[in-house]
C-alpha cells in the first residue's frame, strides 16, 4: 500500500515524521467532569428559566379570539346546504356574531382556519405545477402530469391553475363589522394585500407574460379549475393587479400547511380608520360569511381567528411552557447529579484502578 517514494538511501522507506501521519495532531480532549457538567447544568437551567418566563410574558401579552363558524348562527343552514353537492353553484351567506371583552391593541390579524383538512397528503401536495404558476407559457398550456386528474377538463382544455391544491382553494369570504356602541355597524377595513411571503408574491408566482394582452386573453385557452366559480383572472374583482396566479389568496392557499389543522391569513386590520387606529375595540362584532367551502366531506371544521402578534408570533403557549418544564427538569437533574457527585465521585475513589 502507498506509493513507492522516489527516495534512496538506507532509510528510503521510512515514513514521514509528520504530526498527521504519526497521529500526533494537537487536539483538545474534553471530558465530562463535575467541574464542567454541573455548572453547565445550572447555567442551562437558569437560561431556560429566563427564556421561559420571558416568552410566557410575551405570549400572554397577545390576544386571540377563535370562532368556529361551521354550524354557528345562521351558518347552520349553509352547512346543510353545502352537504348536497348539487347546490354547489348556489351562493349562501350567513353571519355570526361575537363580542370582544378586551380591546385588541395594535395590529390585528384575521385568519381563517380549517381543521382536519389534509393539505399534507403526498399526492395532494404534489398535485400542482410550479412551472405553470411561475408563468411558463409551455406549462400553462401543458400542465404537468402531477396535476392529474385536475390537469385538463373533460374537453381536454388545460386547467390553470392545475392540480388538486389549487382546485380545492378555500373560497369562503368574510366581511367583518363592528357594532359601534349607540351607532350603526361599521365595516372593518381589512388589508388584503401584502399578506404573503415576499418571495412568493414576487418570484414564485408570476402571471404569464402579457405582451399587451389582457389577463383574460392570456388565459384564453385554459379552463378554470373544476370547483372554482370564477376563472383565475377574475379572482379579485376589485383589484386588477391581484388577479391571475399572483392573487394573494391563491398564493396563501398554495403554501400547503404541514398539519391537518391550520390557519391562513385572510387580512390585516387597516388601522387608517380612526375607530380602529388602536386596534379592535371591545364590543360586539358580526362576520358576514359567503359560505362556499364544504367541510362535511372530510368532517372538518372552519373557524376564523383574530389575533394580535408580538416579535414571537402568535399565541402559542407551547414554547414558553416547554422552556419552563425543561428548565425545571435540568435543575432537578443538576441537583441529583450534584448529590451523586458529592457522595460518590468527588473523592475520586471510583477513579482508582
Amino acid at each position: 500500500m502507498g506509493k513507492a517514494k522516489v527516495k534512496s538511501g538506507p532509510l528510503a522507506r521510512r515514513p514521514d515524521n509528520s504530526a498527521f501521519k504519526q497521529q500526533r495532531l494537537p487536539a483538545w480532549s474534553p471530558m465530562l467532569t463535575a467541574n464542567t457538567v454541573l455548572p453547565f447544568f445550572y447555567f442551562m437551567a437558569l437560561i431556560c428559566m429566563l427564556l421561559g418566563v420571558w416568552l410566557l410574558l410575551t405570549v400572554q401579552s397577545t390576544q386571540e379570539m377563535k370562532l368556529d363558524y361551521t354550524e354557528a348562527g345562521s351558518c347552520n343552514l349553509c352547512y346543510i346546504k353545502r352537504q348536497n353537492a348539487s347546490n354547489a353553484a348556489q351562493s349562501c351567506t350567513c353571519s355570526v356574531m361575537f363580542s370582544i371583552q378586551k380591546a385588541f391593541k395594535g395590529d390585528v390579524f384575521f385568519y381563517y382556519g380549517l381543521k382536519n383538512f389534509h393539505q399534507n397528503l403526498r399526492r395532494y401536495m404534489d398535485s400542482r405545477d410550479d412551472g405553470q404558476m411561475v408563468g411558463r407559457k409551455r406549462n400553462l398550456k401543458n400542465p404537468s402530469s402531477y396535476c392529474q386528474p385536475f390537469d385538463k377538463d373533460q374537453t381536454g382544455v388545460p386547467i390553470a391553475p392545475c392540480g388538486a391544491v389549487a382546485n380545492s382553494i378555500f373560497n369562503d369570504s368574510f366581511t367583518l363589522s363592528y357594532h359601534q356602541p349607540g351607532s350603526y355597524r361599521v365595516r372593518i377595513p381589512l388589508l388584503r394585500r401584502g399578506i404573503t411571503w415576499y418571495t412568493d408574491e414576487n418570484v414564485k408566482f408570476r402571471n404569464p407574460k402579457t405582451e399587451n394582452l389582457t389577463l383574460a386573453e392570456v388565459f384564453k385557452d385554459t379552463a378554470r379549475p373544476l370547483y372554482w366559480q370564477k376563472p383565475v383572472y377574475e379572482l379579485d374583482p376589485d383589484d386588477p393587479t391581484n388577479n391571475g396566479f399572483i392573487n394573494e389568496d391563491l398564493i396563501i392557499w398554495m403554501r400547503e400547511a404541514a398539519f391537518p389543522n391550520f390557519k391562513k391569513l385572510y387580512g390585516v386590520l387597516n388601522r387608517a380608520d380612526e375607530v380602529f387606529a388602536k386596534g379592535l375595540p371591545a364590543g360586539n362584532y358580526t362576520i358576514d360569511i359567503n359560505y362556499n367551502f364544504p367541510v362535511q366531506y372530510f368532517r372538518g371544521r372552519k373557524e376564523v381567528v383574530l389575533t394580535t402578534l408580538t416579535w414571537f408570533g402568535g399565541q402559542n403557549h407551547f414554547l414558553p411552557v416547554a422552556y419552563l418544564v425543561t428548565s425545571s427538569l435540568i435543575l432537578l437533574l443538576a441537583v441529583v447529579l450534584t448529590v451523586i457527585w458529592w457522595k460518590f465521585g468527588k473523592a475520586g475513589k471510583n477513579m482508582q484502578e
Partner: protein, 950 residues
C-alpha cells in the same frame, strides 16, 4: 505448500455483526412499513374516503390497494435506516487506519528499511479485540542469531566484564569490544567483551588452545572461501556456526574440509587434521565427537555435548574441575544461555585401529546397525577429560520480553508454536518472560499414547483447579442455531504454564481429546507447543477459533507459519528475515516482534474504538433521521409524505454528516499511545466486545427513538398554529421541513461532539464546516435563481429566508438541541461518577497528569534468575556427520546445496533481503519449506550495526 492451508476470506466479527444487524434492520423496516401500511388502510377507510372530493384516488383504487402502495412508498422513504452508505464509510475508515499503520515510524525498522505494512484494509478493528496470540519462535521471538557469549575453560569463566573495582558491568552496546586485529581471518562481526580470553590465547595457554581447537574441529560445518581470507560458514545449526566462528576469531580458523580431513589455521599456522571418524549427533546421544589425527600424528577424540551426558563419561580425575564447571554452567543457564560441555581424550593408536575395524564392520552390517554403532560410540567416548563449557545466547529480538509482558497485562494469551525441541522452546519461553519462575507450575505434556496424554492433561487441570466441576464449561447455547458450543473462560488461581510436544499434541488434537486439551490450555497463562508441524499449528489455531469466542492472531516469519497465519483471524508476518512466504499470506507485516504491541495496543485499540464509535453514531444519526418520518406519518394520513426537503434527504448522508463522522473515526483517540502502553488494560474492553454489540446497537436505536420524538414533536407543537411576527405563514410544510431538518442537523452534530474525545483542528473544521455547508447549500437551493431555473426541482424557494429570520424558529432549534443532549450528558456523567470504565479512569489520570509528562516506559532488560540447565545444541539434527564424511557434497556441489546446506534462510544474510528467497531450487524442490527440525544457518551472524531507531 501443501501444508499451507486454505486461504479463506477473512472478515471481522464486527462485519459479521453488521450483517446480522442489517438483516434485523431490514426486518425492522418491514415492520415499520407494515404498521404504516395498516395505518394507511384505516386512514383511507375513515378519512381518505371522505377526502376523495379533493383528491380523487387514482383509477378508483380501494383502501387496500392504497395501503399496499403505501407500504412500498414507505420502504423507499424509510430505507435510510438500512445503512448503505455505512459500508462505504466503514471501508474508508479502515483504509485510513491501515495507512496509519503504514505510516507509523515507531513500527519502522531502520536496520533493513522495513516499514510496517497493512496488507489488508478489512481487519483493522479486529486488531483491538485479540485474545489469543499464536507465535512462532525462531525468527519471530528470537533473531535466530546465536552468539558465543561466555565460556568456561579449565575452571575459569570468561565473558564477563569487570571494572577496576571488580564490579561486574552490564554489557551494553557501548562496552568496549575485544580487538581481533591480530587475526587476519577474524570475522569482523563477531563481538566479545572479555579481554582475558584473548590474553589467554595469546599466552598460549594449552587448555585454552585445546578448547578452541576442539571447537574448530568437532562440528559438521562447511566452509566456503570465495576469496582469500573471506570465509563463509554454512552450519546445520546456528549454534555450531556460532562456536566455529568463535574459534575462528580466537585464532583457530576452520578453513576447509574434505571427507577425511579438516584444515584449520592454528594461530596463523596452517594445519591439516586427518578426520578419522565422526561420531554423529542424535537425540539420544546428545553429543557428537570427532576422532582426528593431528599433523604431529597424535590421535585424539574431541567431544561436545549436553552437560549431563558428558559428565557421566568423564574421567575421575576431572571431578574437581567438574564442580567448578558445574557452577559456571548453572550461572550460564541462569542467564538463559545454551550451554555445551567440551571434553577430549587422547587415543591409543592400537586400540583405535581395532575400534575402527569394528566400526567399519558395524557400519556395513545389514541389521541392527544403529544399536551396534551406538555401542561402539559408547565404548570409545569414555574417560574423557573435561575442557570446559560454552555458553551461547539465542538472541531474542529486541524488546520481546517487554512486549510479552505488555501483552499479557492486556489479558492477551500467548501461545508459542514452534518446530523446535522442547528444551529449546522451554528455554526461550523462560528467557522471553513467557514462562516465569514465579509461576505455580509449568506442566509438561509429553505422553506417547492417547491415554498418557489424556491423563497428563487431566492431572494438570485438577492441580490447577482441584474442585473443578465437569459440567458448565460451555456458554449457554447461542442463538441462530450455532451448533458449535463455546467454551467459557475458566478462572484459576495462580499462574500456570503448559508445554506440550508434537506427538502429544497430535493426540490432543484428536476429536475426542481436543476439548480436554483446550480447557487445560486455556487455563494456563502461557502455552508452548513444541515440535509441531505447520499443519498442527493451523489445527491449534482452528481449535481455539472453534470453541472459543475469541479473536486470534498468528505471527510468524517462515513458510511453516503460513498455515497458521491463514487460519487465524489475523495473520502477521515478520518481514525481512525469512523470505516472503509468511508476509505474502499475512494481513499485516513488520520487521520486529516488538511492533506487535504497538499494532495491538495502539493501532488495534484505536481502530476498534473508532470503528465502534463510528457505528454507534452512524446508526444513531440515520435512525434519528428516519424515525422522524415515521412520526410524521401519523399526521399526514400515512401518505408517505417526507418530513424533509428531498434535497436534504439526498445530501444528509453525503454532505452534511459524512465528514464530521469520518473525521471522528479517523482522528479520534481516547488517550495517546504513551498512555495506551502504560495502561495495557485499556485493551480489555475490546476483547469483551464492549463497545459495539447487539446491546449497544439496541441502546443506539432507543436513543434514536427518543431523539426523533423530540425532533418531531417539539417543532410540531412549537410551530402548529404559529405565525411569523408579521402574521404571515410559518406553519406551512416547507417551513416545517426546514425547521425539522435544521433541528436534526444541530442535534446530530452536538451528539457527535459528545462522542468525540479528540478535537483536532480538522475535526473542528469538519463539524463547523458541515453546519456552515448546510446553511450555504440550503440558502442556495432555496434561492430565486435555482427556482427560476428548475421550478419543479427547487420548490422550496424562500423558505429559508422567510423562516430562519424568526426568533421562534431558533428558540425551537435551541430547545430540541437541549432536550436531545440532556439525557446523553446525564447518563454519561452518571456512568463516569458511579462506575467509570477503565477508559474513564485513564482519561481522568491523563487530565491529572497533563502538567507533567508521563514517565517513560520501563525498558529494562529482564534477567531471569532460574537455574534451568539446557540440553545439547538445541537445533541440532542427526545425519550431518554422514553427509560431511561421505564426500557427496564435493562431487555434486550444486545438487547437494539444495539438499540441505543452502537453506540460507534463517539468518540475516545481509545481501539478500529476501533471505530464503521464494521460488524453487534448481532441482525443482521447493526451497521455502522450512523443515521444522532441520535448522540451517549460514554466515554473517554477528552484525553489530547500531540501529539508530533503537
Amino acid at each position: 505448500m501443501q501444508n499451507c492451508g486454505k486461504s479463506t476470506f477473512k472478515r471481522t466479527s464486527i462485519d459479521r455483526l453488521m450483517n446480522v444487524l442489517v438483516l434485523c434492520i431490514f426486518g425492522f423496516l418491514a415492520i415499520m412499513c407494515t404498521i404504516l401500511a395498516i395505518g394507511n388502510y384505516f386512514w383511507e377507510l375513515n378519512e381518505g374516503s371522505q377526502f376523495i372530493v379533493f383528491l380523487p384516488r387514482q383509477d378508483g383504487n380501494k383502501a387496500a390497494f392504497s395501503s399496499f402502495l403505501t407500504f412500498w412508498s414507505y420502504v423507499i422513504i424509510l430505507n435510510t435506516v438500512v445503512p448503505i452508505s455505512l459500508y462505504v464509510s466503514v471501508e474508508i475508515i479502515r483504509l485510513g487506519n491501515s495507512f496509519y499503520i503504514d505510516w507509523d515510524r515507531k513500527m519502522y525498522y531502520a536496520r533493513n528499511d522495513t516499514p510496517a505494512e497493512a496488507r489488508t484494509t478489512t481487519l483493522n478493528e479486529e486488531l483491538g479485540q485479540i485474545k489469543y496470540v499464536f507465535s512462532d519462535k525462531t525468527g519471530t521471538l528470537t533473531q535466530n542469531i546465536m552468539t558465543f557469549n561466555k565460556c568456561s575453560i579449565n575452571g575459569k569463566s570468561y565473558g564477563e566484564v569487570y571494572d577496576y573495582t571488580g564490579q561486574r558491568l552490564e554489557i551494553t552496546e557501548h562496552t568496549e569490544t575485544v580487538d581481533f586485529s591480530f587475526n587476519q581471518l577474524a570475522d569482523p562481526r563477531f563481538v566479545f567483551h572479555d579481554h582475558a580470553l584473548v590474553e589467554a590465547v595469546k599466552l598460549e595457554n594449552p587448555e585454552v588452545h585445546a578448547f578452541f581447537r576442539l571447537l574448530a574441529l568437532c562440528h559438521t560445518v562447511m566452509a566456503e572461501e570465495k576469496k582469500e581470507g573471506e570465509i563463509f560458514y554454512q552450519a546445520q545449526s546456528p549454534d555450531e556456526g556460532a562456536l566455529v566462528t568463535a574459534a575462528r576469531n580466537f585464532g583457530f580458523v576452520f578453513r576447509s574440509r574434505t571427507p577425511d580431513s579438516v584444515s584449520i589455521m592454528e594461530m596463523g599456522k596452517q594445519c591439516s587434521y586427518e578426520l578419522l571418524a565422526i561420531l554423529d549427533f542424535n537425540n539420544v546421544r546428545k553429543r557428537m565427537s570427532v576422532i582426528v589425527r593431528s599433523p604431529e600424528g597424535k590421535l585424539s577424540l574431541y567431544c561436545k555435548g549436553a552437560d549431563t551426558i558428558i559428565y557421566e563419561r568423564l574421567h575421575q580425575s576431572c571431578s574437581k574441575l567438574m564442580d567448578v564447571t558445574t557452577d559456571h554452567l548453572n550461572e550460564f543457564a541462569g542467564e538463559g544461555l545454551r550451554t555445551l560441555v567440551l571434553a577430549y581424550k587422547d587415543l591409543d593408536e592400537e586400540y583405535f585401529n581395532q575400534w575402527q575395524q569394528r566400526h567399519h564392520e558395524a557400519s556395513t552390517d545389514l541389521d541392527d546397525r544403529e544399536s551396534k554403532l551406538d555401542q561402539l560410540y559408547e565404548e570409545i567416548e569414555k574417560d574423557l577429560l573435561l575442557l570446559g563449557a560454552t555458553a551461547i545466547e539465542d538472541k531474542l529480538q529486541d524488546g520481546v520480553p517487554q512486549t510479552i509482558e505488555q501483552l499479557s497485562k492486556a489479558d492477551i494469551k500467548i501461545w508459542v508454536l514452534t518446530g523446535d525441541k522442547q528444551e529449546t522452546a522451554e528455554n526461550i519461553g523462560y528467557s522471553c518472560n513467557l514462562l516465569q519462575e514465579e509461576m505455580n507450575e509449568v506442566f509438561i505434556v509429553s505422553g506417547n499414547s492417547p491415554e498418557d496424554v489424556r491423563q497428563e492433561l487431566r492431572n494438570a487441570r485438577t492441580s490447577m483447579k482441584p474442585d473443578a466441576v465437569e459440567d458448565s464449561v460451555f456458554l449457554p447455547e447461542r442463538t441462530l442455531g450455532k451448533s458449535v458450543k463455546v467454551l467459557t473462560d475458566e478462572v484459576v488461581n495462580g499462574e500456570y504454564g503448559l508445554v506440550i510436544n508434537g506427538h502429544s499434541l497430535a493426540y490432543a488434537l484428536e476429536h475426542s481429546m481436543e476439548l480436554e486439551f483446550l480447557r487445560t490450555a486455556c487455563m494456563c497463562k502461557a502455552v508452548i507447543c513444541c515440535r509441531v508441524t505447520p499443519l498442527q499449528k493451523a489445527q491449534v489455531v482452528q481449535l481455539v477459533k472453534k470453541y472459543k469466542q475469541a479473536v486470534t492472531l498468528a505471527i510468524g516469519d517462515g513458510a511453516n507459519d503460513v498455515s497458521m497465519i491463514k487460519a487465524a483471524h489475523i495473520g502477521v508476518g515478520i518481514s525481512g528475515q525469512e523470505g516472503m512466504q509468511a508476509v505474502l499470506s499475512s494481513d499485516y507485516s513488520f520487521a520486529q516482534f516488538r511492533f506487535l504491541q504497538r499494532l495491538l495496543l495502539v493501532h488495534g485499540r484505536w481502530s476498534y474504538l473508532r470503528m465502534c464509535k463510528f457505528l454507534r453514531y452512524f446508526f444513531y444519526k440515520n435512525f434519528t433521521f428516519t424515525f422522524v418520518h415515521f412520526w410524521y406519518a401519523f399526521f399526514c394520513g400515512f401518505s408517505a409524505q417526507t418530513v424533509y426537503d428531498e434535497w436534504f434527504i439526498t445530501l444528509y448522508n453525503l454532505m452534511y454528516t459524512a465528514l464530521p463522522v469520518l473525521g471522528m473515526s479517523l482522528f479520534d483517540q481516547d488517550v495517546n499511545d504513551v498512555w495506551s502502553f502504560q495502561h495495557p488494560q485499556l485493551y480489555v474492553p475490546g476483547q469483551l466486545n464492549l463497545y459495539f454489540s447487539k446491546k449497544a446497537f439496541f441502546k443506539c436505536a432507543l436513543h434514536s427513538v427518543y431523539s426523533s420524538l423530540v425532533l418531531f414533536f417539539i417543532p410540531y407543537l412549537a410551530m402548529c398554529n404559529t405565525v411569523r411576527d408579521d402574521g404571515k405563514d410559518v406553519a406551512d410544510y416547507q417551513s416545517f421541513a426546514l425547521l425539522t431538518q435544521t433541528c436534526l442537523l444541530f442535534a446530530v452534530s452536538i451528539q457527535l461532539s459528545f462522542e468525540m474525545t479528540y478535537w483536532t483542528a480538522v475535526n473542528t473544521f469538519f463539524v463547523l464546516g458541515s453546519l456552515a455547508m448546510y446553511f450555504a447549500v440550503t440558502f442556495t437551493m432555496y434561492s430565486n435563481g435555482m427556482f427560476l431555473m428548475l421550478p419543479s426541482a427547487f420548490p422550496f424557494i424562500g423558505a429559508a429566508r422567510n423562516s430562519l429570520n424568526q426568533p421562534n424558529v431558533w428558540l425551537t432549534i435551541l430547545l430540541t438541541s437541549i432536550l436531545c443532549v440532556l439525557p446523553v450528558v446525564t447518563y454519561r456523567f452518571l456512568l463516569i461518577q458511579l462506575c467509570p470504565t477503565i477508559n474513564d479512569k485513564v482519561m481522568f489520570k491523563v487530565r491529572q497528569a497533563k502538567a507533567t509528562p508521563p514517565p517513560p516506559t520501563r525498558r529494562t532488560r529482564i534477567r531471569r534468575t532460574s537455574s534451568r540447565r539446557s540440553g545439547y545444541a538445541f537445533s541440532h539434527a542427526q545425519g550431518y556427520g554422514d553427509l560431511v564424511t561421505s564426500g557427496r557434497f564435493l562431487r555434486r556441489p550444486a545438487v547437494s546445496r539444495s539438499s540441505g546446506f543452502t537453506h540460507i534462510g534463517r539468518t540475516t544474510t545481509g545481501f539478500s533481503p529476501m533471505g530464503r528467497s521464494a521460488g524453487y531450487s534448481p532441482t525443482g524442490r521447493l526451497q521455502n519449506a522450512k523443515v521444522p527440525d532441520v535448522e540451517v544457518t549460514s554466515l554473517q551472524m554477528y552484525r553489530t550495526i547500531k540501529d539508530p531507531a533503537l
